[in-house]
Symmetry: C2
Subunit: 407 residues, 2 copies
């Protein structure tokens, strides 16, 4: 007998029929002789409605009230799924974050899980009762409801799997696994049978929408066996595994892209120590995440340019902050561009194959695609290019790295 | 300084604008120097949606899950109202049933309040913070959410007012008070400045929709000063008070009607002891409420008829139960009628004015309205009449008892 944590997202529980479908999948797992805890999100669309109410009611924003409001989405789903399971003859009960409880820190709206009390739930699971758990929510130290931020249900599932020491954590979603790239752009994209935590982490943070970065990092830390699979088909999914579980690492794993990027160049900065720290420190204080940074070399005493990428949504705010420091920083001008995409090649194979960067740059050059910024890590290379070349770049790289499915 | 409990129903918080309007009313009470706890219902329509989901997901019905689902309606409203108040510069926080907690019994879906812990809330109120309380919900002994049944928010408000020993409990609704009768039927209906608990109780249980019977009974028991008023106008409402607070009791207070009635006659019953107990005991076991009962006198050893009224929704079930006992009971036949209305004249004045019944019967007779069943209590007389005469009967009685507004 194994203990399985299953997680179903908003699309998988989007209406009553889909909730009944989820109940059937849970039932199948129970009838295979497993103990099952199911973590669910709010019905698709619900959270957006709740968030917009919480925003529209007034400009001031109490995150504690926001949490009480948006946590209702998952509360509805767990009740409905528990009833659906009972109607299939499966013993089941719903668990809200405060009932388990899932203890979080005090950062309402973007809380982090500190610990999960699993004693009572474990005893129930042992009797064959399915635990239907509201994802995304917990109990803050102030005794009020906290939420983990958007997409937090993946994190809830992984954290619960870690706390229960589950044998597997299956993330059910509307795609049937992790692909070498987005199949909507590259029809020859292939589903990966397995991928390492490190690669999945890069893919997630580089724009692949399959799993939340946070949940992958947590699974890696607690060594949770993660599987991404479809809630609509029975096809096997993608296993996210430890590096040592993968024998063959000859190919790179995938091409990721992140379309919502912007680029900002500060021109004619005096080249003096501490100036980069001044710029990026101020941006960080305003919670603006800066991603790729390049600084053109300057001769002694000369001026320099700094270019960096950031989320498109932060561009206006970043511009404002930098302009307000023009006098202190003493630069000549600022150039902003909001039509850029970040394309990344990801794979453990990169460590052993020094030719990856060259293949990437040559492939793009052959298509006349200009690389604006480059950044690399041990298992990925990212470049910033003009947004209009996104699809061409993704498809060309997918072919160049031998990822295309055969006819 | 006074402590006021305000309660706003679903229509009063039906959308964001209305919630902002409620916030303004709460603010006005705070700025008058009062401590305020506000109890709110779910936004109009929300509870129906949640209830239908909980019913449609499957035929089996776990009341604990039902409670978790439907309690979300109020949870959304309290969060939104707390934010709306903060946006008006008023310190406010939401309180869910399990947070206060409002301890109830274990009857999920129709729980009764056992006690309310008010120590923490009281301390917050004393600092000037408004308590925004989710009506209709509590915490059951099993640690799960309970709900009080439909209309339970009135009861929540009265129970909280009793627990806080509040100076007043204002029930805001979409009418501006208690009327002598339904103004939609009798345009000359007048708003009552005050009404006794006993009269209000009769009015509520006889079909007036203004207050839930349960909440009036609780207010009477705990001597809570209740006021019914409009959430849309500033007009003074109706005070529900103790009998001794009312000096003048010359008039009757109002004409109530309950249209959803049915009448059932069991013909040719053997007149033997215990037969009425057998019939009504069986109906009570099936949770069918029987209201007015008349039995025609029978000579020794002869057969008799029993007629009684009941809710129209229970008629089919009652018929089935009675038919199934035909052999045991030994009656000749059954006659059912589902197009009857109960009309009631209510007022403390009845005690001192013996002519009320005569005026009522004469007024109806003059209009050719046949009385099918009569029942009386200390402060009301009810009759069952054919439904088609409802409006005529209400208007005629309203005039006959001197309740019409002057031109």
């Amino acid at each position: 007998m194994a203990l399985i944590v299953q997680k179903f997202g908003g699309t998988s529980v989007g209406d009553l029929d889909r909730i009944r479908n989820v109940a059937s999948r849970v039932k199948a797992e129970v009838e295979s002789g497993n103990e099952v805890a199911v973590v669910v999100s709010a019905m698709a669309g619900t959270t957006n409605q709740l968030v917009s109410w919480a925003r529209d009611i007034g400009p001031m924003h109490d995150a504690r009230e926001y949490d009480a409001i948006v946590a209702t989405g998952e509360q509805v789903t767990v009740g409905l799924l528990a009833i659906a399971l009972q109607n299939l003859g499966i013993d089941a009960r719903s668990w809200l974050g405060w009932q388990i409880p899932v203890h979080t820190d005090e950062v309402h709206g973007a809380a982090r899980i500190r610990s999960i009390d699993t004693d009572v739930m474990r005893a129930r699971l042992a009797t064959g009762q399915v635990a239907v758990v509201a994802g995304f929510q917990g109990l803050a130290p102030d005794g009020r409801i906290s939420t983990l931020g958007r997409g937090g249900s993946d994190t809830s599932a992984v954290a619960l799997a870690a706390a229960l020491n589950a044998d597997r954590c299956d993330i059910y979603t509307d795609v049937d696994g992790v692909y070498t790239t987005d199949p909507r752009i590259a029809p020859r994209a292939q589903k990966l049978d397995q991928i390492t935590f490190e690669e999945m982490l890069e893919m997630a943070s580089l724009g692949a929408k399959v799993l939340q970065t946070r949940s992958v990092a947590m699974a890696m830390r607690h060594n949770v066996n993660l599987q991404v699979r479809s809630s609509f088909t029975d096809a096997p999914g993608t296993l996210v595994v430890n590096e040592d579980a993968i024998v063959e690492q000859e190919k790179i794993s995938g091409i990721a892209y992140s379309p919502d990027e912007a680029k900002l160049t500060i021109q004619g900065l005096p080249d003096r120590p501490g100036i980069a720290a001044a710029i990026f420190g101020t941006l960080a204080d305003s919670h603006i995440n800066v991603d790729m940074i390049v600084q053109t070399a300057a001769s002694e005493g000369q001026k320099t340019d700094i270019t960096f990428s950031l989320g498109r949504g932060d561009l206006a705010k970043a511009l404002e902050i930098i302009e307000s420091g023009r006098e202190t920083l003493g630069f000549d001008g600022v150039d902003a561009q909001d039509d850029v995409t970040k394309i990344s090649v990801v794979g453990m194979a990169m460590r052993s194959q020094p030719g990856v960067a060259r293949t990437m740059f040559e492939t793009l050059a052959e298509r006349g695609i200009n690389i604006e910024v480059i950044s690399t890590s041990e298992i990925k290379i990212s470049v910033l290019i003009a947004a209009e070349y996104t699809e061409l770049a993704v498809r060309s790289l997918h072919t160049a790295f031998g990822l295309d499915a055969e006819d």
